[in-house]
């Protein structure tokens, strides 16, 4: 895997020698300068150590403004740039680009928000000016610790592995190949096609499933960019995004292309066994093809049932039949992986609504096989050789399970979820029954009818018109099924009908179709190999169920189709194409660029304790067992910094958000001597996560919600980055109060960084109590991007709360409690070298 260094290349020279910081303060056409006295701020900033240039500009973001910054960088040989203007969400990128144009590393730039966080929220001009200067002073202190960084570049192997050869996997493979990308499909069965091959007609088009499947398989099989492995099981996997290496085990097929007469081989087989393709409704031989036109169009031997008697071998004159082949192993390299292994149908327990007990009770999938003219009954509605006169459909078998009513699955969990496709499939199947067998009565037993999708409702409407009788049962009293005592029909279904005021009814039916739900496949192997996670419903879990539905938490892994949850065919093909789009984007770039704010382990300090391994939401940290050290994979790290705060040895640092940088910033915010007396203002440091809370504070600014000027914001990428030590340091340097604000639980940009915050902050509170710091001086809250009002309210409340307590003056107690030991208590001034600027 190609991975360029994170550290500066060439730009490194710019850091050597003295600091030459340029400070540019934006007037924003009065938006800032009407409240903040820009002249004063510029003058004060000029006197800060290391500042070579300090100047104001009417609009820093304008072309002339940017040109002025670039000119100063060149003429004054600046090696750090600070722009104090609007929110970084608006123009941080603008200025980074300007800095880069002037030949300076773009990460030697600091963006200070003195509009949304100062001039728009502070009424008092003097206080606003002082706050603006404090923020600039902190940025100057932080700038001393900035290091040139480059975006991480990860090379991507130009091929994709698709796991699963059903409709989703095939669609994804076809689409990727159409974009010129090499694809390998691995399918665990001997034949492609998955569950779609077993369906007869599909909604909402009513077309035969194989009208979709067969041309797709032909296209995939003929595409020179696609390699197909059938009978292939996942064995092991290594690597990360850009360079996955997956080893698959190829079970021998037993039959090769050399076989002169495959049909003779099948006909000669004496071992009859259950035909899985027809869902147990018929038998087949141990050497078999599931249906005519399958792919590959070559029989396979079912090794569980084959006795190796040699009959097929003899029938083919010994050619093309290999009974003693050993499994082979192949390693497949790929830049990305699409998981499309699909799902299973729920298998009713013996006796569940008479299933297994009466042959007249079958599943919806079996009913589909019965309706297929190429199926076990050649499309006739026969059960046990008897013609069916009435059919009942019973919804939600294995879905919408309830405690006390249904028996849990093997893992002790109930299938609480809705299987999504069964209602419409049932309506569609009932429609076909009424159309093809007009004399057959159809009854529908349901709890709710969920025909949610496009054209679905029209099936429901149509079967109502066709005279299907609907009976709404009470889920707490599900129907009972038994043999019809009167012998009029095969079975009788007893239930209460809520549509007729809870009337108890008995419905005789010849055939009862259980609309069985869909269940996840066994994911153990995928979890082992790719560290995927599954939900309570046992389906694979996408990284964000709302916004990133086809991506897994680990970069470069995508999911397509019903491996994620029940889906119909159209939804599966859409998901497959969406996953292909993601993989295609990844491959077509060749390399991907990622923000350089990754974590790195300082080997000399790491004790190998493994604590950080669990802190990482993305499994980016592994332990090098040979050296007993943690290692961060920079290709996987997304830069939340949660591990940094977790490490007990201070052995992990985050580029762009190192302890030194954050501490220098906090110390400089608090560097002024507090003015005690009647006008005393408590000094509050607020640590805000960038994605939600910082944006929430911006939101307070755009809404012009005023709040006290004494809470200074320190930005981190995730609240999980906040080390308790940062909080105690802030107190020790003179803060009277500290706030930690992060995304609400569930909103975390890094999926679970804030979960760590949630666990850590109560401990901080206890720690502070030990130090004798009143609990009211510390506050931890969740503030979303929309909660500007909440942010301003929190600052107001906090200010009043701390004001009531009075100054903390904690530094004087420090020696007594032993805090700050080993930390740099000299707030700032003395230049430090940033330890993570590796060479």
């Amino acid at each position: 895997m190609g991975m360029d260094g994170v550290n500066g290349d060439g730009a490194q020279g710019a850091v050597a020698g003295d600091l030459r910081i340029g400070v540019f303060v934006c007037h924003c056409g009065g938006n800032i300068s009407d409240i903040v006295n820009v002249e004063t701020v510029v003058r004060q900033a000029a006197e800060l150590p290391g500042v070579a240039v300090s100047t104001g500009h009417m609009f820093c973001c304008s072309d002339p403004g940017q040109a002025a910054i670039e000119q100063q960088i060149r003429e004054q040989r600046l090696n750090r740039v600070i722009v104090a203007a609007c929110s970084p969400s608006l123009h941080e990128l603008t200025f980074r680009r300007a800095v880069a144009r002037a030949g300076l590393n773009p990460y030697l730039f600091e963006h200070i928000n003195i509009r949304e966080h100062v001039s728009w929220v502070v009424e008092d001009k003097e206080q606003a000016t002082r706050k603006a200067f404090r923020l600039i002073r902190a940025a100057v202190a932080r700038a001393a610790h900035l290091a040139p960084l480059t975006k991480r570049r990860i090379q991507i192997h130009p091929s994709v592995l698709v796991i699963g050869g059903g409709i989703a996997g095939l669609t994804a493979a076809r689409d990727l190949a159409a974009r010129g990308i090499r694809v390998t499909i691995v399918e665990s069965n001997p034949f492609l096609g998955g569950r779609l091959a077993q369906l007869y007609r599909i909604y909402p088009t009513g077309q035969r499933a194989r009208e979709i499947l067969d041309p797709l398989i032909r296209q995939v099989a003929a595409d020179p960019l696609i390699t197909v492995y059938t009978n292939a099981q996942l064995e092991s996997s290594t690597g990360v995004i850009g360079d996955f290496r997956t080893t698959v085990r190829l079970t021998p097929r037993g039959v090769t292309e050399d076989c002169p007469d495959p049909q003779a081989a099948i006909d000669s087989c004496p071992e009859e066994c259950v035909d899985q393709f027809n869902l147990g409704l018929s038998k087949r031989m141990a050497i078999y093809k599931p249906y005519d036109g399958c792919y590959p169009d070559l029989p396979a031997i079912d090794w569980r049932n084959c006795t190796k008697c040699g009959a097929c071998f003899q029938a083919c004159g010994g050619r093309g039949i290999q009974l003693d082949d050993q499994p082979q192993f192949v390693e497949i390299q790929s830049g990305a992986i699409i998981i499309a292994v699909g799902l299973n149908t729920y298998g009713p327990r013996h006796g569940e609504y008479g299933y297994g007990q009466y042959p007249e009770v079958i599943t919806l999938a079996q009913m589909n096989r019965l309706l297929d003219p190429e199926g076990p009954t050649k499309g006739r509605l026969l059960v046990n050789g008897r013609t069916v006169r009435s059919v009942g459909f019973l919804h939600c078998v294995g879905s919408l399970q309830r405690e006390g009513i249904h028996r849990p699955m093997a893992d002790g969990k109930l299938n609480m979820y809705c299987s999504r496709v069964c209602c419409t499939t049932t309506m569609h199947t009932a429609e076909q029954v009424r159309e093809r067998f007009p004399g057959v009565h159809v009854y529908d037993f349901h709890e709710d009818i969920r025909t949610y999708g496009r054209r679905h409702e029209s099936y429901y409407d149509h079967v109502c018109e066709q005279g299907v009788a609907f009976i709404r049962f009470d889920p707490m009293r599900p129907p009972a099924v038994e043999a019809d005592p009167k012998g009029e029909a095969a079975l009788v279904v007893r239930t209460v009908d809520r549509l007729t005021a809870g009337e108890e009814i008995e419905v005789p039916v010849d055939l009862l179709v259980l609309a069985t739900g869909l269940v996840a496949r066994d994911m153990t192997r995928l979890i082992d190999l790719y560290r995927c996670s599954v939900g309570a419903d046992r389906f694979l879990m996408e990284v964000h169920p709302k916004l990133r539905p086809v991506e897994l938490a680990a970069s470069g892994l995508f999911l397509a189709g019903s491996v994620q949850g029940p889906m119909d065919i159209g939804e599966s093909t859409a998901a497959a194409a969406a996953a292909a789009a993601k993989a295609s984007a990844l491959i077509s770039t060749g390399t991907i660029e990622m923000d350089p704010f990754v974590a790195e382990v300082r080997e000399d300090r790491c004790s190998g304790c493994r604590i950080c391994l669990n802190a990482c939401p993305f499994s980016a940290i592994t332990r090098n067992e040979e050296f007993a050290r943690a290692e961060v994979n920079p290709a996987v790290c997304l830069g939340c910094g949660t591990c940094v705060a977790t490490c007990p040895c201070n052995a992990i640092q985050q580029y762009g958000f190192s302890d030194e940088q954050i501490k220098a910033e906090v110390a400089a915010l608090l560097a002024e001597k507090p003015e005690y007396g009647p006008g005393w203002q408590p000094r509050i440091v607020a640590f805000l996560c960038y994605w939600c809370s910082y944006t929430g504070a911006d939101n307070a600014g755009t809404a012009r919600l005023k709040y006290p000027a004494n809470a200074d914001i320190v930005k981190v990428m995730c609240s999980g980055r906040i080390d308790p030590e940062l909080i105690t340091s802030a107190f020790s340097w003179g803060a009277d109060g500290v706030m930690v604000l992060g995304c609400h639980i569930g909103d975390c940009h890094y999926t679970s960084g804030n979960h760590k915050t949630m666990v850590r902050m109560p401990l901080v509170r206890r720690l502070l109590a030990q130090f004798g710091i009143e609990p009211e001086r510390f506050r931890h809250e969740w503030v979303s991007a929309a909660e500007g009002e909440k942010f301003s309210r929190l600052v107001k409340e906090m200010t009043e709360q701390v004001r009531a307590l009075g100054p903390l003056n904690w530094p004087s107690h420090l020696d007594a409690v032993g805090v700050g030991h080993g930390h740099d208590l000299e707030p700032w001034g003395e230049e430090q070298t940033c330890q993570i600027t590796a060479d």
Partner: protein, 435 residues
């Protein structure tokens, strides 16, 4: 406004969540995309929502980073406040005529400071807040809008020049005219989104007549922390409602108004709004009158049960009529299905009509695509190629092909982008003489 090139690989019409995702997924594959939005800001319906089901994520928290990604993407050009006038196939792809509506604000110069809005003396009902809040005649569309550029509504403007005097960059321009923009595009993705059936479509429910009969999207704004009031109140008197009813299928599954289909999202948003109401106002009763609860998606049934567990009453019933009491309370005449069809009259403080979803835009000859019976774009191969329209080279994403929740819209946007990328690859190969 970024510079508009003559030619783009892809044109995406509509910058709601589906259009943004389609643009990102197409641009991510190396294609230049022109993303056109009719409203003054991108973000569509999603950016105005309070929370999303079933995760209860804050909608703007997860939507705004995606908006920023679109705005900063080097291969995406954003054109807001612009409508499609005409689209037709040519030898080289599609010839597209767009009309950029006048903002009366010079987009490049506006810094989004809202000084104009503060200086303006006119108060106009805010469309983003469904009329519950207000803005000035010149205004930034909303706090999370992208671009953060003001727009002036000449219908309400007094032309007293207050805004122009307040503007620090002198960017108010009363002389702007609609501007016609002609571009070539290799492929087109329609992500034109949704609207709700009119509030008054079912006269017997009194929507539009009774002030306390509400639109569900307006309820989202009331619940939003950045909404007009920051809490739920009755429009008639500002009181905290103590009993709220949701009438499901108010304009769905109803042949009489031409919307026979299920709108797919209403059950879930009613449950979600109910949960949020009960979290903030635990003493307020929420009743959902429904035909079926269609909690079909991933985690939806669990969400439904959670809602019931949190005290939301879910009643299978048909609502025949709503009448207003003198104190603006509402009386619902309902047939309680599970009680054998007993008819009852039930009083509520506030009623939300779960209005059906209809297409947000109709081509009316502007684009050569066919419309299906349900009014949404016709998809000839719904199972095999769900993002392909009736016209070669035109793809469809999101609610434009039928009601859809956010993840389904995002998935379909990815599919549309993939289809467009394959189509562009084929046509570029043809143009390059490569087989």
């Amino acid at each position: 406004m970024a510079e508009i090139k003559q030619e783009y690989d892809g044109l995406v019409l509509g910058a709601g969540i589906a259009g943004m995702q389609a643009a990102l997924d197409l641009a991510g594959q190396g294609f230049d995309v022109l993303l056109v939005e009719r409203a003054p800001s991108i973000g569509g319906v999603m950016v105005g929502l309070n929370k999303v089901f079933p995760t209860l994520d804050c909608s703007s928290c997860i939507c705004t980073p995606r908006m920023a990604e679109v705005a900063h993407h080097e291969r995406i050009t954003l054109l807001t406040y612009t409508e499609l006038k005409h689209l037709e196939r040519t030898a080289r792809g599609f010839s597209v005529t767009l009309v950029k509506k006048p903002r009366y604000v010079v987009e490049e110069d506006c810094i989004g400071c809202a000084k104009c809005e503060l200086a303006c003396n006119v108060v106009v009902p805010h469309e983003f807040d469904y009329g519950l809040g207000a803005h000035a005649a010149v205004y930034i569309p909303h706090g999370n809008a992208i671009p953060q550029v003001a727009v002036l509504d000449p219908q309400y403007c007094m032309f007293d020049g207050a805004c122009a005097r307040a503007c620090p960059t002198d960017c108010i321009d009363f002389t702007q005219q609609p501007e016609e923009i002609n571009v070539q595009a290799g492929a087109v993705i329609l992500a034109t989104g949704l609207k709700l059936v009119p509030l008054d479509v079912k006269k017997e429910y009194g929507g539009g007549k009774y002030v306390n009969v509400m639109n569900p999207l307006a309820m989202e704004r009331l619940q939003s922390p950045n909404g007009p009031y920051g809490h739920v109140m009755r429009p008639s008197d500002g009181k905290i409602p103590r009993s709220i009813a949701y009438v499901q299928c108010a304009g769905s599954r109803d042949k009489s108004i031409g919307v026979p289909y299920c709108s797919r999202i209403c059950c879930m948003y009613a449950l979600k709004q109910g949960i949020m109401i009960r979290q903030h106002l635990p003493e307020t009763e929420v009743t959902i009158y429904h035909m079926d609860i269609r909690a079909f998606g991933k985690g939806y049934e669990q969400f439904y049960r959670r809602a019931v567990g949190e005290g939301i009453r879910v009643v299978k019933a048909k609502v025949a009529r709503i009448t207003e009491e003198p104190n603006k309370d509402l009386k619902l005449r309902v047939e309680l299905i599970d009680e054998g069809g007993r008819v009852a009259e039930i009083r509520h403080d506030l009623v939300v009509l779960s209005q059906g979803v209809i297409p947000g835009w109709k081509p009316d000859g502007a684009a050569p695509v066919r419309i299906d019976e349900d009014g949404f774009f016709l998809i000839p191969e719904m199972a095999a190629r769900p993002a392909n329209s009736s016209h070669e080279g035109v793809f469809v994403a999101g609610v434009a092909t039928g009601p859809k929740d956010i993840p389904d819209a995002i998935v379909e946007a990815g599919a549309a982008a993939m289809e467009a990328a394959m189509y562009l690859g084929r046509s570029q190969a043809r143009a390059g003489g490569v087989q």
